[in-house]
């Protein structure tokens, strides 16, 4: 670089003063640089955000996990007095999907909790129909069965083949249930296993032609090639051959003759208890959770305040007029108490406010007064503008606009009314992100307006207050309308700009809410 050697004292002083000048960048600048040069290691705040979101999702998932909930419930009731199952409701019937079998004489199922079979083809069939280990983990065994099954080898050992036994579930309503074609949980059910229902042993068979599951009553097993079962239509009938399509073959099953499957009272109680408390959890939100959509046309006012003035009202130095705003939102409502609903959602807001000004033929130099973030002292920031607050070639209306996205969180309280017609009041707090807009700042001498969007506060908070009348139809749809006041809690522009602007929206809200089932 060729340095200028004949620099005069003015230039030298200019350079010296300029070199002395320092500014301290915002932290976000380093974060951006860091994220750019280390793309694989985003700034910890990102990781922290993801972690927090993950924890929230996990918490939500665990709180709505009906299987675990049922498991916990069943566990809590292991030592309690058992309750009989309600035969009129859908229940879960436990099936024996993996059976401990060998070529040794078996003992009654109820006594040692095993069923004993022999025959290689049967074994092969069983192996092909193993269920996933996930099912095993989600099950709660009766105490004595767990003892029997623990530690059992799952592989062939000479003539013996031992499978760990566990219980799976099939939802059965009366004698027929809905098609299982699209339900991955039920597709895995290997049919034709002994099951226990209302103190009886049943076999559930899969009828591929009809794509339905039916259950059969099994009274006992009498011979190698014939299983004495109940028919599909008459549970008391005998000598019905199973429909085995790739499942168990009756010819391959051999058991000890005349061996009756008997359950102990404890096992019966556990089965019924299990069935009772593992019914599908009702949707807590069904009929309560409402999906709401609304829009609110409004009139936007603003209040200006000079933070370092001597008490003069800056609003008198400007010619300004309210303009219109619009709010569109969608969200959910949920009753937490009688007459009290919480709600949240997402909404978009547009605000506008007008200032009367004049345009000039060319831009002029002016300043806006900012407050230093380091010394907290005001200083002039130089700008150029063609908009005058005093006079000019032609009059112009300056539109101060913002486009916002908010996350309102709040509640509605019923004041009066009946089931269908109500008068409510509501309030929300609305963390807001300002996506963009236009801002015309008043110059330090109040003679000019400067278009300046770089000082726009991107984060803000609004508060909403409303009262409304709602009418609920018989179909669960609620219409509401009423006045709304929305107040901006922090200044539109950066705190560094000495003139604060806060917007007040006076609107009329129209909403519709549909209950979700």
């Amino acid at each position: 670089m060729e340095r200028n050697l004949d620099i005069d004292s003015f230039e030298r002083l200019l350079k010296d003063r300029s070199d002395e000048f320092k500014m301290y960048p915002e932290k976000r600048v380093w974060h951006s640089i860091y994220n750019n040069i280390h793309p694989g290691r985003k700034w910890p705040s990102v990781a922290m955000s993801i972690t927090l979101i993950g924890i929230l999702l996990l918490t939500g998932y665990l709180n709505t996990d009906t299987k675990n909930a049922g498991k916990r419930f069943a566990s809590q009731n292991q030592h309690n007095e058992t309750k009989p199952a309600d035969p009129t409701t859908a229940i879960y019937i436990p099936l024996l999907d993996k059976i401990h079998f060998n070529n040794q004489p078996s003992k009654p199922y109820a006594n040692n909790s095993t069923l004993n079979f022999s025959g290689q083809s049967f074994i092969d069939n069983i192996e092909q129909q193993d269920m996933s280990s996930k099912s095993v983990n989600n099950l709660q065994e009766p105490p004595n069965l767990v003892k029997t099954l623990s530690g059992v080898n799952n592989k062939s050992n000479g003539d013996n083949l031992t499978h760990e036994r566990f219980i799976s579930l099939a939802k059965i309503e009366s004698t027929e249930i809905a098609p299982i074609k699209n339900d991955p949980d039920f597709k895995t059910i290997p049919a034709n296993r002994p099951a226990i229902f209302h103190n009886k042993v049943l076999i559930v068979s899969l009828d591929n032609s009809e794509n339905k599951i039916r259950h059969q009553n099994v009274n006992n097993v009498t011979s190698e090639k014939n299983i004495v079962t109940g028919s599909e239509t008459d549970l008391s009938a005998n000598d019905v051959t199973l429909k085995n399509k790739g499942l168990l073959s009756a010819e391959t099953i051999s058991t000890d003759k005349n061996e009756t499957l008997i359950l102990s009272d404890e096992e019966k109680a556990w089965v019924e208890n299990y069935a009772m408390y593992n019914r599908p959890a009702p949707k807590k939100w069904a009929g309560k959770l409402g999906w709401q959509m609304y829009f609110t046309p409004s009139v936007v006012y603003r209040q200006l305040k000079n933070t370092i003035s001597d008490g003069a009202d800056v609003n008198r130095d400007v010619a300004q007029h309210p303009s219109y705003g619009l709010e569109i939102g969608s969200g959910f409502t949920y009753p937490v108490l009688k007459g009290l609903r919480i709600r949240t959602g997402l909404q978009l807001n547009f605000t506008m406010y007008n200032s009367d000004a004049f345009t000039n033929s060319h831009p002029v130099a002016t300043t806006i007064t900012l407050v230093s973030s380091e010394s907290h002292q005001p200083y002039p920031a130089y700008r150029s503008t063609a908009y005058s607050n005093i006079d000019g070639i032609s009059a112009v209306k300056l539109h101060n606009e913002t486009f916002q996205i908010s996350l309102p969180v709040g509640m509605d309280l019923k004041i009066a009314g009946n089931e269908n017609l109500q008068w409510n009041i509501g309030a929300t707090i609305q963390p807001t992100y300002v996506m963009g807009g236009k801002s015309y700042l008043l110059s330090s001498d109040k003679r000019n307006y400067i278009k300046e969007t770089s000082l726009l506060n991107h984060w803000n908070v609004n508060a909403g207050f409303e009262t409304f009348v709602s009418y609920k139809t018989d179909k669960g749809i609620t219409f509401q309308f009423g006045p709304q006041f929305r107040k901006q809690l922090f200044t539109t522009n950066s705190k560094r700009y000495i003139i604060q602007e806060k917007l007040n929206n006076y609107g009329f809200k129209f909403g519709i809410t549909k209950l979700l089932k």
């Binding site: 670089m1 340095r3 004292s9 301290y24």
Partner: protein
Amino acid sequence: MTEETMLNGCLENNAAAQEALYMRLSPKMLGVCYRFAKNREDAEDMLQEGFIKVFAQIHQYRNEGALEGWIRRIVVHTCINILKKNKKFSDSVDINYANGIGIREETIPSIMQAKQVVECIRLLPVGYRTVLNLYAVEGYSHKEIGDMLDIEESTSRSQYTRAKAMLEDILIKKNILLKPRTKSGVALTGAIASN
């Protein structure tokens, strides 16, 4: 952390070393960017892009001259590139009209002199301001400036002469410089000259 340690760390893409280097030099470099930029936000964008280039090209530093000077050149070039990209040179201010408006001193409290000088530089039209920054402050020759800004060397000289005259007028009008000009230029006011 010494400069050598920081440099070695940066060569190994060590985040702590990079942050240390950034923390040490970013205030001064943001001051450089601010003289070229329209506002603080633009200056921070320039600084960000400049330091990204610094860390990406740190292996090209040959220990010939101060590290700070090498980084400063990258930052200055980044500022120029951004200004050219955004076509900022077409934006100008009628400085005569600006002088007519003036600045009401009672609304502008006294602040650091360095900042006053910088703010006066920033009052210049962007073309003048850029040439003045590059020549008088950064020490580039008119030929280099011509190459950087895609203008003739003579254009750089004439722009600089006008920029300097305008800046002097502004400084005098703001009582930062005293009239009349001395043989060697103009005298600064006592407040600044004593510093």
